[in-house]
Assembly symmetry: D3
Homo-oligomer: 272 residues x 6
């Protein structure tokens, strides 16, 4: 077998989806861990800072994605649709796009990918269930379905081609939790950064699935099986609880958005 | 389905068993979360403070219990026998009484109950076993048996009637741990209050079983499956360890009260 | 510890509920395994055949039950309410009655009991779930709740007093399956007899829970954990399938009686 | 909720992929269970027999698929690519095609689908592992990946829209096992027919995953969780063992096609 | 990696412990599957039949064991102490001897071993527990302890050196079951032969642990995890039940030999 | 049964392997918990401090070990080989030696032993797996194999003779972690001392297996099943991470010493 080195610092790191919410948060943070940070998105990325490379690409454009992966040591793949949308954009960006990315990684010899999966992969579990990354998936919409596809693709590329992935089922990563559901799902940008870097630098990850959440008191997810990553969240949603509860004092358990972990995703979407 | 709202603050909260040890501890604490705190017991409850209603009732008295539930938003059910006793009082207060309470809750449309169950539901596990709320019950006496009945009743009223319950298998809630067994089972009144309120206000609980214990270093119980409640104990028995150990320096493992989690309950009781 | 002998044949065997459907089926069958078969019920038992003793008793009558257990080597306890009924008869016959029986067994030194529990202890699992006797109970009514009480009582009397019990969660034991639900739940009288005798004579049973069902092609229950009993059902519901399906050609999954394992029990009963 | 009736016999049944190997096997067999059997494929279907409707359609053609589902009571979905192939045909037929099928089912009110999934969904487990339908997927190629997508889609349409699916992870269904791997994976056409019909007519299936295999002595898959379907395979690969072993007397465990359950799929495919 | 071929028929097969009870039973049977059957024991092996080689060796004699393995394709290792004995003979034959055998196998490139382990590796489980090969070991004496050592050695030589082993935890293999315990543990010589040959010829076994028992109605062991071996027992202890039960009509559960799966082993042995 | 008292402080405590690395660390620490600390090793132990007894003994010398145990209340057994070595020293010190120790403990009525097992008992699990003490062992060499033997011996002496043991699968106990693997495996001497004392004084331990590791952020082991010991590690490897990572910036996942939990042990040793 060829060598499969995992460094702590990277020559060139690729961040896809760099113009999105999490992409903007990670852009300045990831720069510290690499010589060159290649940034990509379908949207405008502004101007390149020192050490940055901007390379616009639609994920469904195989040639563009192959060009994107050239010379890259590792990938943080945030790109694609990140909300519930109609089938076509999800198919193109999240299914065709994920395939393009892994094929390009394989051809260019990239060995490690952090894949932004989503808690919506298991959004149809109830809010009174505590689940683990080993439980069967229950996507809550087309978006969650496409993320489950991405995780399975990552498993295949590990079993078949030895490319390692950490699939991070991101909860809700914002400056602060916005509602009571996020008391369970919230993860700070600092915890996100630590999780991404642990995923990139842990010596062995195979294909690991982990929920991206803070050190929250309310928890639906048990990450025990991913403790080898060397990551523990440090920020908690608890300080935000009084304000969040005050703004949403009464919830109705019969509302599917309250009953299921996926929240409003379980009842929104392209289904008419 | 009718709406099933869960508020953070209650119009009228019912506390049964309000004259007992835990009842006295919770009485002033629960007042902060409701407009009116209805208190009940078979024993004398003193005089009503502002915002309190006193309503004496024996739990085996169906009519009295039905009156008790009228106009109530949620219940903290500490009432009934809380020690190992002969069959008749346990039958009346804990079995007939629990049935009366749930039937009254159903008729009056009460949607959420915190049920004071007990670690004695699983008292015949050994002290070198770590168990979870999903493991089969092993009651250590008639008291534990009656609490297992109450939990199953709660499950039935959830599956059949949608009434949600958190069954709290209380360890030992006292101002301080009194002996070495309580190093594992102890829970402070502050942690009890936080657990009761989390159980009343968590958006979705279905029927959740949780062990009521502190953040103790010695632990027999794994509450992972109940982390959705949004409760983490904050007080530990550890600071009390030196004093407790000094007073009970030698234990004999062949004593059933040492060997089993139920402690002395496993060998006391009405069996002659 | 005193000797705890388990014979293959019994001096005196007690059959409670002997006037009921299963009691009538077992009455002539059990006679072959004992010198004396004591029969009891609240209903009329006819006249005693050779080797039979008739002893009428209400299970809630402690004194009568104690008299019933005198001189008995082992018990097949079918007695009590076996359908969904109001609380009072279930409380008296199945809860108070079960307690009386076990207390009497303890005082008279009886060492082995076969307890007729019911599949309604877990009737609120869905018909597309396969469960085991170790899964948490989900009773579908007061009847199932009382049977769960009986099982927990049996566990207590084993852990505390060494009395062994096999709790048989009987499905549907009739001459033939009557409807499509019984394709899963049906057990022939021959299989019932074999299960009862295996339960009485297996050298070690502790407290074993087993589902009483035939060798049916449709199955909701996995009895792997009870294979030490030395029982395998031999009769199948499959030959009855064509007739049963013809008579009930269309089922509606949205009917709770179709959706849940408990069948019609999940929507009948004393709740108005 | 609207009624959700499951009949034993169907007005109009749709069989997709009817021109393929399994489609040809099932075509005459399914006719017995419906008034009209609608057959579809991209390939030629010959002429319609009595009670047959032929409707050619490419699965990636949404309009054609919607037309296909009109007036249909239930679907046996064998259509799509069934071998390891390049990404484009798999994407079109198995991913876009599966989406089109479920969307059409939803719009036309179809309530039950049998989905021909594949053992290649878990082909990267070793041949010395016995797995169950609840274990995490490990697809062995793009084909297995696309079938995992189909299963997750089925789960979503059940959780969200109440459409029930049995996903049958077909092993190897041929007149006879062709090689030693098929001693584990073989399923006769008779067993396939019985499994399809059990899946169509079982009263409640939700989304059930089951491995389609015979009553083989060599087994990698434990179907315990699907025993509610009312299906037991009756044919075994064992009588074919002598001939099969004689033709393939020596296997090399270091060959991935021998080591992994997926057999040759784990090393063939579009990856160059 | 070097090729790792598994044939169906062997050039030279080694049978150790060939003079013991099971050795004598297998000696004529194994001859059919190899050109040369090398037989070894510390005891006299009589004269060599056609195709047999006799090679006397004490397992603790490393040089003799290395000579034994020369030119061998696979091993059926029955050799060593097979009853509870003092430490020295068990240490020499079963611990040192097993190490010698595996080291010799490694040096001579032998790729597959069937190791006669024992149910006494788990003899301290109770007779009312059904266990699997994945459960923690609980040896019932020095003999069982030495067999657990052999299994762990086999695991090591697989993980480290790729030598595959099937560890068969033999129950009781005799012409007929001799007592009631053997109703659970008995395995016929025919089933033993089939199990040994399945273990030698299954394409992939890694290190598989399987209980060697018949198709008995009374069962303590669940072999689901070993079904990939392609072995199902065909003979049952059940026809022997009447005679066996008649000869041992009453058992005392308080006797450790009745209570535990290991039977008399749990109370015999060198401990004074 | 004889009394089985567990004190908090000991008359005479035996520490074997007292001249080794951990022995030297524990020697001054254990003195505080006993009147007399008996120290033993094959190597020189220097001169006895106040309250110390020095008793040189080779563990394979049964008579010497029996003398060692005389008058001892409890044992901390660090003695034996603690690195990968050839078979003979491991056989003598770790297998024969462990047997001698337990036999001597049995004869002298010693009731509690802390056994220094090793993470190398499970060294062939991958570094991306999180395992528990209940998972099957996978030793990474002869050393790990001998420690698995010791654990099974401890289980036997508990089940058969009631001697309690805590088997501590020590990770890496040094003043500081020396390399990146030790970020997961490191345990401070303070945490080791606390773990040893918790193991000696917990009221009931039976045979408990626990991993000896710090409160590290990177973790491969889940000690939930041992929380009854009353031990939580307090020191973390995390402060050492920057220095350790700087010194070992790139790891190659294809190196078995990186891939498996056992680290370099999986490829060193006496196998040529």
């Amino acid at each position: 077998m060829p060598a499969h080195p995992t460094p702590l610092r990277f020559g060139r790191l690729l961040l896809t989806g760099a113009a999105g919410g999490l992409g903007q948060a990670l852009r300045p943070r990831l720069k510290a861990y690499c010589d060159t940070l290649r940034l990509s998105d379908v949207a405008d990325l502004g101007t390149a800072a020192a050490g940055e490379e901007l390379q616009r690409a639609a994920l469904e454009d195989a040639a563009a994605v192959h060009a994107l992966l050239a010379g890259v040591d590792a990938v943080v793949h945030l790109g694609g649709v990140s909300t519930e949308q109609p089938w076509q954009p999800i198919l193109q960006a999240n299914i065709v796009g994920a395939y393009n990315l892994y094929e390009a990684a394989r051809r260019h010899g990239v060995r490690r990918i952090v894949f932004a999966s989503s808690n919506h992969v298991t959004g149809f579990y109830r809010q009174d269930e505590v689940i683990s990354p080993k439980d069967p998936v229950r996507p809550d919409g087309l978006y969650g379905l496409s993320k489950a596809f991405g995780e399975n693709l990552a498993q295949l590329y590990f079993d078949r081609h030895g490319i390692e992935t950490v699939s991070v089922r991101i909860g809700s990563s914002f400056p602060a939790p916005k509602n009571r559901r996020m008391l369970a799902t919230w993860m700070s940008f600092d915890d996100l950064e630590r999780l991404v870097m642990a995923s990139l630098t842990a010596p062995v990850v195979g294909h690991t699935v982990v929920y991206g959440m803070g050190d929250n008191t309310t928890t639906w997810w048990d990450n025990t099986s991913a403790r080898h990553l060397g990551w523990r969240p440090q920020d908690s949603s608890e300080p935000f609880r009084p304000a969040v509860e005050a703004a949403e004092a009464v919830l109705d358990r019969n509302d599917p958005a309250v009953l299921y972990q996926g929240g409003p995703f379980v009842r929104t979407g392209p289904f008419d």
